[in-house]
């Protein structure tokens, strides 16, 4: 036993470099002879570019070149593509207006790229950018979705009513019948607040072009370098893969925001071939706020039909989703297949129908942010179910229990396309109720009341779909790429191993977790294993890291490649030990011949593979280096229960989280320490959404929350210690039986927090509050309720 296999809380391999200041983030990299870029951005949300005069700026000190949208258009550079095609109710495809990397003729949001200034230093580039004279023809901006859908101002002239698509899922007639037969109908209107991802490392890129080989290189802050190579090479710049290397080195957090192919990547790569020198660009935080794709931003109306006993009969949902000014890489899939396919939640609701309209506005594009669609869905369901419990007069625990899918109902086909392979919501719910001492809550509420505080408890039970995805299913739903993962397991002559994975590690601990898989498989200690990722010239292929897919999809690829290595190694062992292959056993790093004392160590076999003097050369090739691609059979379905307890100060509206309990089923746990850390981080982002964070644009499209002084990031003293536990239900549709853990915290937690605040405020007659539930909003809700009650 190595002690570093599956299930061990191995300390992270990557920490040494990060703790000593030796990380290698994109902005830490400098290329010989590099120049620096500054991107000039639109200060207007919507304007025509009547003229762009760069003549003065071009003469400024240190300036090497300046390019505008007209220059890219002259080179017939393509638009940034969307990776997922959605169809309207009538079967017609969504509208995909052009998305030029540098704005041409029109700008459509504050921050839209207008020009790139390339100079000897960043300061010189920035100074010169101020000399560019632009005559903007300012147009009215359309910011809120209702105004956008009313038409009038159009973000894109060829998109009527700013509607990108109008999509539906589920059985409308069956739902109508369910509502006709219902004893109770509960409805709710909800806003899922727009969020700004805020990975701590701002986006950055360095491009290079080698004239002697026509080879392009791009270093970029990406979660998926191969996807960037594919999208930028094939669709935007027409560079074939063998001439384009994309490297995503250490990346300082992503949370979805670094999945997408951003304009700057294409602009820099294209410009490098013009100026024949490397170009470096690093965003300032203000640029991150204004130009990183935002998350969430839904408005929904939902109705739940119940029978007399409280059994759910039907669910009807209508959602408007803001996609911003342009379709970002996965902007169309998030509010559709990553959202409405989860509307069954953990419940047996037999009839579900949802319609989603997506809307262009003069705001930065909206795309996947930690959870991507599933937090929006979970928030809607768990607010609605909690409201139903109150209105129908059934305890919220009992209402959930009586409608939950039971363990013996798996695999469970939902009415909205997904088939949950395994799960046990009643079990995780029971554990969370126990861990949070739900039964003792009323005593704590009474005690708080004595000290003038309002105490509340909130529940969220959820399931999500991740481990994206079976390619065939994704393709049938409109994905324009496969979603498998690849691995290469290279055993070196002396038995150490390098694994090349197509996923990308930007905080998730893959260099440790993946090494544990190999340690388990080969029976060798983890210090003999290196995990390599992020460089398209080293790694054969990959679809990257998002949608909690790395272990669920990338892990089995590694495992399969390891198994191929073992199969081949057994043949070598059989030859050398003069036994039949069927008699060779492999365990704890040793190949043995069954029933004998013959054995060879893993390193002896690898050496034989590379020094094949005594070798079955007619049967197998030398070397020990295997590839595998793994395409999953189903999504994976983590789930669980989150319970939050808050105290509200009715005098100030300040809410404090007293305790937060999360019990999550993420399938098999490879590294418990890392899994807990992932849950903590997700919970912090969920609590942030529920209580602190909210993106605000004014009516003119100016971003009011454009810095850390205006956008409330969760800080250490805003958050509690989280009580986190995992409860694994095996049976996930992948050989590791893992389910994914990166997003569960952000998915499950927001409704638990808001339900807790509403529970605390219920005695005052407050029935609704929107996220973020800031002290101001809570205080206002209390005041409005007391005025209303006084009037009654």
């Amino acid at each position: 036993m190595t002690g570093t296999g599956i299930g061990a809380s191995v300390k992270r391999v990557e920490d040494q470099r990060f703790l000593t200041g030796n990380g290698n983030y994109t902005d830490d990299i400098n290329r010989p002879g590099q120049s620096h870029a500054w991107i000039l951005r639109s200060p207007h949300a919507h304007a025509t570019l009547k003229s762009v005069d760069t003549s003065k700026a071009e003469k400024a000190d240190g300036v090497i070149a300046i390019f505008t949208g007209a220059d890219m258009a002259a080179d017939e550079i393509g638009g940034l593509p969307c990776g997922w095609q959605i169809h309207n109710k009538d079967g017609s495809p969504m509208l995909e207006p052009g998305h030029p990397p540098l704005a041409h003729e029109k700008v459509r949001y504050v921050g839209d790229q207008v020009a790139i200034v390339i100079a000897a230093t960043r300061d010189a580039a920035r100074d010169a950018a101020e000399l560019i004279e632009i005559d903007y023809g300012v147009l009215p901006a359309v910011i809120d979705m209702d105004s956008a859908l009313a038409g009038g101002t159009l973000v894109h002239d060829d998109v009527p009513n700013n509607r990108c698509f109008d999509w539906e899922i589920g059985e409308k007639d069956a739902v109508d019948e369910a509502f006709a037969a219902a004893d109770h109908v509960v409805s709710i209107d909800l806003v899922n607040n727009r969020l700004i991802p805020n990975a701590m490392e701002p986006r950055a890129a360095i491009s290079d072009f080698d004239r002697s080989t026509s080879q392009y290189t791009l270093f970029t802050t990406s979660q998926n370098p191969h996807v960037i190579r594919l999208l930028m090479g094939a669709f935007v710049l027409q560079i074939p893969e063998h001439k384009l290397r994309v490297v995503a080195p250490d990346v300082g957090g992503g949370f979805g925001s670094k999945i997408f192919h951003y304009a700057e990547e294409a602009i820099l790569t294209w410009a490098a071939a013009k100026v024949h020198q490397p170009i470096k660009w690093t965003a300032e935080r203000s640029e991150s706020f204004a130009t990183d794709a935002h998350g969430r931003d839904h408005e929904s109306h939902a109705e739940l039909a119940l029978d007399k006993s409280g059994k759910f009969l039907g669910l009807r949902v209508a959602t408007k989703a803001n996609v911003g000014a342009y379709l970002s890489t996965f902007g169309s899939s998030v509010p559709t297949y990553l959202y409405a396919t989860l509307l069954a939640g953990v419940y047996t609701t037999p009839a579900i129908y949802a319609e989603v309209q997506t809307v262009f506005t003069n705001t930065v594009p909206v795309d996947a942010y930690r959870g991507a669609g599933r937090p929006e869905c979970t928030y809607l369901l768990e607010r609605l179910v909690t409201k139903a419990a109150r209105e129908v007069g059934i305890d919220p625990v009992e209402l959930r229990k009586m409608n939950m899918i039971q363990p013996d109902q798996y695999p469970y086909q939902t009415p909205v396309a997904l088939m949950y392979d395994c799960g046990d919501s009643p079990a995780t719910f029971a554990s969370a109720l126990k861990a949070s001492d739900y039964a003792g809550f009323e005593k704590r509420r009474a005690a708080a009341e004595k000290s003038g505080k309002l105490r509340g408890i909130g529940i969220s039970t959820y399931v999500e779909a991740c481990g994206i995805a079976p390619s065939a299913v994704a393709g049938a739903l409109g994905a324009r790429a496969g979603l498998y993962e690849s691995a290469q397991v290279r055993v070196h002559p002396t038995g150490s191993v390098t694994v090349y994975t197509g996923t990308h590690n930007h905080g998730q601990g893959h260099e440790t977790t993946f090494a544990q898989l190999v340690s388990e498989s080969f029976g060798i200690p983890i210090d003999q294993i290196e995990i390599s990722h992020g460089d398209t010239d080293q790694v054969q292929f990959g679809m990257g890291t998002y949608g909690s897919r790395s272990l669920a999809v990338g892990g089995p690829a590694i495992l399969n490649a390891c198994n191929k290595v073992i199969d081949k190694a057994k043949k070598i062992a059989a030859h050398i030990m003069e036994a039949d292959v069927s008699d060779i056993e492999f365990a704890d790093g040793k190949f043995t011949v069954a029933g004998t004392d013959k054995e060879m160590a893993f390193g002896e076999i690898s050496l034989a593979a590379y020094v094949p003097h005594n070798y079955p050369i007619e049967e197998i090739e030398p070397g020990l280096d295997e590839n595998a691609f793994y395409d999953p059979l189903n999504f994976s379905f983590p789930g669980g229960a989150h319970i939050c307890e808050v105290e509200v100060d009715p005098e100030t509206g300040d809410s404090e989280i007293i305790s937060f309990t999360a019990v999550d089923d993420v399938g098999r746990v490879v590294n418990p320490m890392i899994v807990e850390g992932q849950v903590h981080g997700g919970l912090a982002q969920g609590v942030g959404q529920a209580m602190l964070e909210g993106c605000v644009y004014d009516d003119n499209g100016q971003l009011l929350t454009g810095s850390y002084m205006d956008y409330t990031m969760p800080r250490a003293d805003d958050l509690p210690n989280f009580s986190v536990a995992t409860q694994s239900v095996m049976g996930a549709s992948n050989p590791l039986e893992v389910k994914g853990v990166g997003e569960v915290g952000a998915i499950g937690s927001p409704p638990a927090v808001v339900n807790a605040i509403l529970d605390a405020l219920a005695p005052l007659g407050v029935e609704d509050i929107s996220m973020p539930a800031t002290p101001l909003k809570v205080w206002q809700a209390i005041q409005e309720s007391s005025v209303r009650q006084a009037a009654e």
Binding site: K11, R12, E14, D15, Q16, R17, F18, L19, T20, G21, N22, G23, Y25, D27, D28, N30, D123, N198, A199, M200, E201, P202, D250, V251, G252, G253, F255, T282, E284, R285, S286, H506, G507, Q508, G509, M673, I674, E676, G677, H680, G681, G682, L683, A684, Q685, S707, Y708, M709, M713, P714, R715, A716, D717, L719, N721, F722, G745
Partner: protein, 155 residues
């Protein structure tokens, strides 16, 4: 351009810089010491915290020229060879980092807390971290790391 000289991690250094150069730019760009990070442009995030004359300071809030003659310690100056400083070790042991970007600032900030308060409470740690943002960890394990690091340093 003026020449700015100081001591960084015990070594005398000197470089010509534009007057507007910030201390963090001097460290990263003039000296190539990229362990100190830049996460924002409003002095909020704390990724750039270093010690100047023994006190923690956001190195984006100071011009390099203002640090003329100062004694500066960065994250690169903590470990003794491959042996981590007890606070670094506490972060490793307690999974106090994920993507690593805020980590240098967190560790440098934590060390200043501990030299001012050798036995901080959890609440004191949380309040001290007011000026350091992390998006990955939810702070849970950072707080745990700092509490453990403080105990380790008390010996």
């Amino acid at each position: 351009m003026p020449t700015v000289s100081m001591t960084v991690n015990g070594k005398s250094v000197s470089a010509e810089v534009e007057p507007r150069t910030l201390l963090v730019q001097y460290l990263r760009e003039s000296l190539g010491m990229t362990g100190t990070h830049v996460g924002c442009d409003t002095s909020q995030c704390g990724a750039c915290v270093v010690h100047v004359n023994g006190e923690s300071l956001k190195s984006c809030t100071m011009l390099a020229a203002q640090a003329e003659g100062a004694d500066v310690t960065t994250i690169e100056g903590l470990a003794n060879g491959d042996e981590l400083h007890p606070m670094q070790e506490a972060f490793r042991e307690n999974h106090g980092l994920q993507c690593g970007f805020c980590t240098p600032g967190m560790v440098m900030s934590a060390l200043d807390l501990v030299q001012k308060n050798s036995d901080p409470s959890e609440q004191e740690v949380r309040e001290w971290l007011e000026g350091n943002l992390c998006r990955c960890t939810g702070y849970h394990n950072i707080v745990k790391s700092i509490l453990a690091g403080a105990q380790a340093l008390k010996g």
